[in-house]
Amino acid sequence: MIQILDLLIQRNGSDALRVDSLDIHRGETLAVVGPNGAGKSTLLLALARLIRPVSGEIIYDGKSLMQLDELEYRRKISFVFQAPLLMDMTVEQNVALGLKFRGTSKDETRERVGKWIKQTGIESLSKRRAGQLSGGEAQRVSLARAFVLEPELLLLDEPFSSLDPPTRAKLIEDLSALLKADHRTAVFVTHNLNEAAKLSHRIAVIVGGRLRQVGPARQIKAHPADEAVEAFLQELPRSR
């Protein structure tokens, strides 16, 4: 579905991310792990076409991303950020936002919003305003807002990192169930290897602005591709 070739992205004048080659298959969940500042979020922003690479290519369904109409492409994807970034409106209105951007009919919007509000367990919150939600509730709304678009590609940038451990564990479980049931292509950024292993089919390790290794969690743990990956794995707390 997506091929990345010789990608180089610079931010503030210096190299932020290099990816020699990476394939993302339709229906798979790819977790991207690495230390803070490694370039994980940069990869997601590039996949969302929110930043432009200096060189290299991202090919989406056989076409270079830069050749696709920007808005048309962005409407095939959906992005969940680390912070919920909800708008000052009700939960229902927040969930419906992306559909409104796409000009979806009122009936269809009502039906899809109702379905995903239920799936993400926020039915009781639907009439509340965003400012009245806890962190966990807000992040659930953020997930519903992304899933309701039923995107071809779902991009999740450490969506649970600011939550307390029990809320986080529950949301990971729910997201895992949603992704499995939905067979949606997703790229999930985290710095937690266990979380990555639980949610994904494969893991991509980015250290020091370079994609080092891609494979199943077990393989990465058993055979780190280089010293940088090994050092990253060793630095992870045991609880992770």
């Binding site: 969302a48 959906s78 992005f79 950020f81 970034l85 000052d88 951007f101 400012g131 009245q132 807002r145």
Partner: protein
């Protein structure tokens, strides 16, 4: 002594002129301030510093420049706008536009910068993104509007210089106050001043009420969270 119908005419003209100047300032300042807040270009800081300086433009200086431009022998003299309400509107727009622009830029810069990417990531077009950013910053934007209106309804220098304070034509509340004071009619000047203050208060009261309605929801949410 001014008679009641004349006071009414002066009051209506004051509101009309300042409201039109504020609306034009909004039409200029809202997109320009948005461009400055969201843009990423080299001269951005320089332009913002000019706008911030413009927010404190002395009305008499604006009046002088507009008067030179519109003077019968000036570059725009043929338009015959000097000593007309349009001249006052032009001068007041020059005073209010930097205020609206600067405060719009500040209001949008105060939003989480990731909100732009989030809206785009949900499939918003650029126009939809800007519209929802304005919606999110609607309370400080309303404050920008209030500040813009306040800066022109209360100014006297520019209105006097380019309007000429002509009875029945370009006399507004502030210029009438100056005239009555110069004639020693302090009672009349005080009455007009009170009228001006009440008028400004009522307009700001209405806008503040709208602002507080928005804040009330946030206050309730904070209490519920705790």
């Amino acid at each position: 002594m001014l008679i009641d119908s004349e006071i009414l005419q002066i009051t209506i003209l004051s509101i009309q002129v300042s409201a039109i100047a504020t609306v034009i300032s909004l039409v200029i300042g809202l997109p320009f301030g948005t461009w400055l807040a969201l843009g990423n270009f080299g001269a951005r800081s320089f332009i913002l510093s000019i706008i911030n300086t413009g927010m404190a433009l002395p009305p008499v200086v604006v009046g002088l420049v507009v008067a030179i431009m519109l003077w019968r022998s000036g570059p725009l003299g043929e338009l015959r706008l000097i000593y007309t309400p349009i001249a006052i509107i032009i001068a007041q727009t020059i005073i209010a536009a930097p205020v609206v622009t600067g405060l719009t830029a500040a209001a949008l810069e105060a939003l989480d910068p990731r909100l732009q990417q989030q809206l785009l990531g949900l499939g918003a077009s650029r126009v939809q993104m800007v519209w929802y950013l304005w919606r999110e910053a609607r309370l400080p934007l309303l404050a920008a509007l209030m500040a813009g209106f306040g800066s022109v309804i209360l100014e006297v220098g520019a209105s006097m210089m380019v309007g000429g304070n002509i009875r029945g034509q370009t006399r507004v509340l502030t210029t009438a106050i100056v005239l009555e004071t110069s004639k020693g009619e302090f009672g009349q000047a005080l009455a007009l001043s009170t009228l001006l203050l009440v008028l400004t208060y009522l307009i700001n009261l209405a806008l503040t009420w709208i602002q507080q309605r928005g804040r009330k929801a946030d206050g309730q949410s904070a209490r519920r969270k705790s």
